[in-house]
Amino acid sequence: MMLVTEILVTAVTVYFFVKVLRTPPKIEPDSFTENDSE
């Protein structure tokens, strides 16, 4: 139970974090000023 839960939680955490790192930034220009004007 302990190992299954710990491995599962660690794997999901690593998955999401790696996905963040590997997702390229959005290419369209954006800025706070643009946000304000919406």
Partner: protein
């Protein structure tokens, strides 16, 4: 329009700051205790279910509301909710999104200051050679501001001011230059320190067992924590405890996530970011938090001792003693790591608590970042000093109950209704999905609309009317008496039956028992030992407090046990509640003034 033009420096910085906001002292101190008390490994099932149907939806609600507010130039809950709800009362309900943070920061930074102080005591090897009782007594002396453990008068106050000042200074450096930098340093260090202590706990086994203690084995601690007791799943209190833990651990229902997310660009992802931060918190809590305190304590003190004493105080009253058993150098290193990780867990959360106020002052009153930050420090200091001066009189606990518990549930309920029912689930779902880097399961749309608000309503209602002893069937059968932990029970002070005047010349026993009259450090102390073996202790600082019972005398609840000039605990409860009401009214007043300024600017 707001002149507040701050932004996050990087995506990783944002996620670490959000994870740092969520990862707090509760991950290491509250979670394992809740798990032990609620079915061990079986607690994980309601915990994970609560994460899926309560935690994740609330994370998305807060991230989406915050990012939406940011597009309007609003970075704190009152005016974020104002732009979502239109009706004027939403901005006053949004006051909770600042009030809760200030009130919690007021006492939370006090705990943070203990961890900071204990890092230095670990380096100085203060605890070397002390017995377990002496280490526990050291903590009691530390929080008794009249005593000093270092020779520095009013030591606890100075450490509190130092840590609050440090928080304020970091806040004055802004998101990228302050909060993000601390998160990028603090979070990795916290994980490294936690991993070291967890590995040490795994390796401990029974090597630290004193002679004759067969159950002093760290692996028994792991087994106890993780051994499923599936019958506990049918107990609604276990589910309530799990849902409560999800609240505390994710820092939802506070308004901090709104504020951080308000600085996310409108087309940037929030769906994946919130998952990354939320699961990182889960990793720290389940994998690291569950592997340190309980197993190490069981390894040295045995399972029975831990079952009886598992609680928040173990961090300061027990762990330093256990580390001394690892030798001078390793013990000192372990102490620095333990209190260091608690400090980083604390400061990354308290910085988040400061952010909504800072953003509010920048947005509405055009204060500079530095001035906004220092006003946070001042307000928090004024709100927090009573918790420092009257910690042992229960002011701290009142803040924790009303702001840190009730406030969270109430605000989460309000924001869930606003998001799904007032603003509209279609608009809300679209907002969550805008710029998403992951595909969200569609099942979450009805969950957000029906399940999450309903669960929150049930939790709030149950908290309101919790029956005595949490025994719901007995309450229905025998008549409803409110538990002292219920909101109504708290308002009625049901746990104080006799000493209900703030000031009195006599003190009356609240429980039956056999008296044990002592003088501890010059203070009149009366212990009433009940037939169950439990003891209730009364202690007074007043010099004129004189016992009117003798050791061995049988006392009934309602009998006078002492004479003198007493300031009863109910006085401090009223003081704490008065402070919290004044703080809420002050912030609501500020919101009103800000609203008037907005109206004048439009005309």
């Amino acid at each position: 329009m707001s002149s507040n033009t701050q932004s996050w420096g990087s995506r990783v910085g944002l996620i670490l700051a959000m994870a740092g906001n969520a990862v707090g002292l509760g991950n290491f101190l509250r979670f394992p205790v809740q798990a032990v008390k609620n079915g061990g490994g079986a607690f994980l099932i309601p915990y994970l279910v609560s994460f899926l149907v309560l935690g994740i939806p609330l994370l998305w609600i807060e991230w989406a509301s915050g990012r939406f507010g940011g597009t309007k130039g609003d970075h704190s809950a009152p005016f974020i909710m104002n732009s979502m709800g239109k009706r004027s009362y939403w901005k006053y309900l949004g006051v909770f999104g600042i009030f809760t943070n200030i009130a919690v920061a007021a006492y939370y930074t006090y705990i943070e200051s203990w961890t900071f102080s204990y890092v230095f005591h670990s380096i100085a090897q203060t605890f070397t050679g002390m017995s377990q009782t002496e280490v526990a007594q050291f903590f009691t002396s530390y929080v008794d501001i009249g005593q000093s453990t270092t020779g520095l008068p009013y030591e606890a106050i100075w450490f509190y001011i130092l840590v609050l000042g440090l928080n304020t200074w970091i806040l004055s450096k802004g998101l990228e230059g302050g909060i993000e930098k601390v998160a990028k340093i603090g979070m990795p260090l916290l994980i490294v320190f936690g991993a070291f202590l967890a590995v040490r706990a795994f390796m401990l086994g029974s090597s630290g067992a004193p002679a004759g203690c067969a159950e002093c084995d760290a692996m028994l601690g792991f087994n106890f924590l993780w051994n499923p007791q599936f019958d506990s799943l049918s107990n609604p209190n276990v589910w309530l405890a799990a849902a409560g833990q999800i609240f505390f651990t994710l820092s939802v229902g506070m308004g901090t996530i709104h504020c951080y997310a308000a600085y996310v660009k409108s087309k940037d992802d929030i769906a994946l970011n919130s998952m990354a931060a939320g699961w990182m918190n889960g990793f720290v809590e389940i994998v690291l938090g569950g592997s340190i305190v309980i197993p190490i304590a069981v390894g040295y003190l045995g399972l029975d001792w831990v079952k009886e004493n598992a609680g928040f105080a173990m961090a300061f009253q027990t762990m330093p003693f256990l580390f001394t058993k690892w030798g001078a150098v390793l013990g000192s290193v372990a102490g620095v790591m333990w209190f260091g990780l608690l400090f980083f867990a604390g400061i990354t959360s308290s910085l988040a608590m400061g952010s909504p106020w800072v953003a509010f002052m920048q947005d509405e009153f055009k204060f500079s970042l530095k001035t906004s930050a220092w006003t946070f420090g001042l307000v928090t200091l004024l709100a927090g000093l009573p918790t420092v001066f009257f910690y042992q009189q229960g002011v701290f606990d009142q803040y924790d109950y009303w702001a840190g518990t009730v406030g969270l549930v109430f605000f989460a309920l309000v924001e869930a209704i606003l998001f799904a029912w007032i603003w509209g689930i279609d608009k809300g779902w679209e907002e969550i999905n805008r710029g998403a880097d992951i595909v969200l399961p569609k099942i979450y749309k009805p969950v957000l609309k029906y399940v999450t608000p309903l669960i929150l309503l049930v939790i709030f209602t149950m908290s309101l009317v919790t029956p005595k002893g949490n025994d719901w069937s007995a309450a229905v059968r025998d008549g409803w008496k409110f538990d002292a932990s219920s909101i109504i029970g708290q308002i009625q002070n049901v746990d104080i039956a006799h000493n209900r005047e703030a000031f009195a010349d006599i003190f009356v026993a609240e429980v039956d028992g056999v008296a044990d009259v002592q003088s501890v450090e010059g203070k009149t102390t009366i212990r009433l030992v009940q037939t169950t073996g439990e003891a209730t202790t009364y202690q007074w600082d007043q010099e004129d407090a004189q016992p009117v019972v003798t050791t061995g005398q049988v006392v009934r609840a309602g009998d006078q046990i002492a004479a003198g000039s007493f300031v009863n605990p109910i006085f401090y409860r009223h003081l704490a509640r008065g402070m919290l009401i004044a703080l809420f009214a002050f912030i609501a007043g500020m919101v009103y003034v800000a609203y008037r300024r907005r109206m004048q600017a439009l005309n």
